[in-house]
Symmetry: none
Subunit: 158 residues, 2 copies
Amino acid sequence: MQKLKQHKEIITYAVAMAFLLLILRFLEYRFLILQHEFEIYAGIIAILFLLFGIWLSSKIRKPKVETVFIEKEIKIFKNDFIINEKAISTLKISPRELEVLSLMAKGLSNQEIADSLFVSLNTIKTHSSNLLEKLDAKRRTQAIENAKKLQILAPTLE
Amino acid sequence: MQKLKQHKEIITYAVAMAFLLLILRFLEYRFLILQHEFEIYAGIIAILFLLFGIWLSSKIRKPKVETVFIEKEIKIFKNDFIINEKAISTLKISPRELEVLSLMAKGLSNQEIADSLFVSLNTIKTHSSNLLEKLDAKRRTQAIENAKKLQILAPTLE
DNA sequence: TTTTCTCTCATCCTTTCGTATGATTTTAGT
DNA sequence: ACTAAAATCATACGAAAGGATGAGAGAAAA
């Protein structure tokens, strides 16, 4: 059954061919006796097979495949920021330090950070110092820049 | 002459057709006398016109074009950062100040900025002070943050 | 020519930041 | 119970950063 389906086209052509030959036979026995009708008979055959050829051709011919590449632009927003947890753990930055770091990046002073976290200025200074060392920075501005490059901090976007 | 060229194909088909009919005639006079050879004659006509039909079809018919659309994904990273010229002009930030600002954002100290711009530390301090006032900031970290929010500086992306 | 702007540099002073060091307390894991 | 890491706080000093102010040089606009 599957093979029948696979060779469906070939079978179709074969049937069509057989049908044409049958017509041929029919015409042969019908008109052969009448000698003078031969030209008409030949003409019919010619037209018939001409048409058959045209039809066959359209079926047989493989369609030209034209491949068109549609360039689909996929905009990737670099805003889909994912915190680089690995960097944080490898640099051994503690949660509290990270907290301080993010407030630093917002432009707060040590005193302001201390106030908002309800700890002393000295505590923030210690965190700050540790952060600078862990982030290999000499200044807080550099620390912030490095942290953003390492995707430890989200980029500042409007 | 031009018309000849324009109808070149049609003429070709006409000539081919005429040629085939000529063969038909020839075969007619050649084999008609021999009655028993009629089947062969009919077969030849059939094959001939079948082939002619196929050939004709291939010439006449427009080639079947099957268009295959393939979506090609093009990743576009959207860090298409555009400097907010308006903000710069409304805040009256001078080119030199902008230069200092961008170096600041990279984490350089005033001394390092002075060295890289071949000016004195005092000059950079002046620029820095002016920048802080223009950007409504109390600290350089805040100035940088504000500048990035105003799209005066590009965001830090890896 | 005069004015304005930008860039430059300086001085004095204050504030903030950063380093070094030590100590206490809490939390979490062994 | 012991240990290690984290968080807290402190003191003291030195290094940057920031504020206020004045001033000179050069270019461009009025």
